[in-house]
Amino acid sequence: MTRYILRRLLLLAVTLLVTSFLIFALTNLLPGDIARLVLGRDASPTAIENFEAKFGLDRPPLAQYVDWLGGFLTADWGRSFTAGNPPVRDLVLSRLSNSLRLAGLTLAIVIPLSLLLGVVAALREGSITDSTISVVSLSVVGLPEFVTGIVLINIFALWLGWLPATAYIAQDMSFLQWIRLLILPALTASLVLTGYITRMTRAGMLEELKKPYVRTATLKGIPYRRVVFAHALRNALLPTIAVIALSIGWLMGGLVVIENVFNFPGVGSLLVTAVTQKNLPVLQAISVLIVFFYASANLVADLLFALLNPRVRLS
């Protein structure tokens, strides 16, 4: 098991190294002049030279990558291209906690809800409840986040006036104010994920119920609920762990859109701004950070899976 964990940690490191390199390579694909792109067509040669020297853009690409990686690991994430050149790390971290709160609330809604719906749908396979869950999770819930977001804003903010349409964050907000603010964005993110995880949970549960050991358990004469809960459920939920980890990647992407729909000051909206402004240091930092969270989620899922599954744990 220790060996397994070490292997997985090593794999995580390799993934991060490769992806950070890919991200760096992609953002440095630009034909020569990042400086001209940022400063504009009419920038003077001196200004460009200064800009390149300031951000080390005149050095060979590989050296730039090594510098950047070294900096990133030692908490020096570089400086933003924008006016005043604030440190990227401060910019990103100030937004990160907001995004994490949003993601946290979303997962707190999604995981219990979708597991419940998935299991219920599987146990009532073919019933009205099952078909309703299936149809709703297939249709309404598969919509792009900005569509759901806009619909929800119009219903709950503009029409009913229950919740704020945009997320203005003040320094001294109470917990309840926070929640009020987060509900609509979190709900938007939840809808998509719930649909997906529900479907996968249902499929996993159905598959599990068809396995021979369920017959063995049933023919022991134990009550049906025991067959389901003591035997099938645990095994059925094992693959769902990986499904949840996968949807965290999806959530990261979804948050980028959702934060823009609600003008929410998180890393997602910062990322979009960075893309618009060609602000490469910010773009790189946020991308690598998101990949890190996603890869860590997968790692945790793998370890959890191994821990709960004796076949992996004991080999």
Partner: protein, 322 residues
Amino acid sequence: MAEKDYAEPAAHAAPAPGSAPKRRSRLRTAITANPLAFIGAAGVVIFVLLTLFGPLLAPYSYDQIIRGTDIGGETRRALTSRPPSADFLFGTDQRGRDIFSRMLWGARETIGLPLVATIISVIIGSSLGLFIGYVGGLVDDIISRILDSLISIPAMVLALVMISTIVPLLSASGSRLIAVLGPSNISLTTVIVLIYVPIISRIARSATLSVRDRGYIEEAKLRGEGTMHILFRQILPSVLPALVVEASLRLSYAIILVTSLGFLGLGVQPPSPEWGRMVLDARTQISEAPWELWYPVLGIAVLIISFNLMSDGIRRLLRNEE
């Protein structure tokens, strides 16, 4: 009743060989068994037809600012923010353009572009997946690791990273072809292809692995068939169902990606009437001209739901075939 709750595969429930029902009745059973999928498929057909022939049906051009005289009126003023009427089925926008016409034109970017990008991705991705799955060994190890790394970057993030570089790259290339097709169209297609190729090749690879050691593949080797024959004549047909399911799913995600990027202002660039971009432009108009927002939103919703229902239907159908 007790037996309702048990699921056990019937020992010999499959019809005996030779007694397969005719194709036609099978199609009918498929439709009646899953009417929603049929509705979805019908919707998809309509949307694809609109993509192909939409501009011919559109009363106006997508960037035409409509003035009073255009509809037999007196004024030369632009007819801005007109509500839906017989003249303007979906109303006009804040600049006086016909929303119905814009949406018909915009189907090309909203549906056509993802469709083309998905097809390209499936072709490249499945060839790559078939190849590395069949060859195996170090080649497979290395390529798979790179593909896995690409997959471990969430699609939206990868898209944003690439958009920041590919659009300027293409604009700067100065190619005539790119200029004609539009740099943002090309770059979006490239982005989708780069995101999907790893995903699709992974599916194709694992499907290949599951048939690679079958007897009929080994028999093909034993009669001296070349790699190409084995890949495309022997393996591909078995892998195809999985690829079709994946492709239909990917298409729907590609539409979501294109419209979402449009909504973020990073997708197909104006004046192209891509629906996500239309939603973005209309957001400020929500109180003055709500129709300007609702028709594109509705369009995207119906589009995605159709595709989702269809791809779910395909998945079920192919699963039952097995």
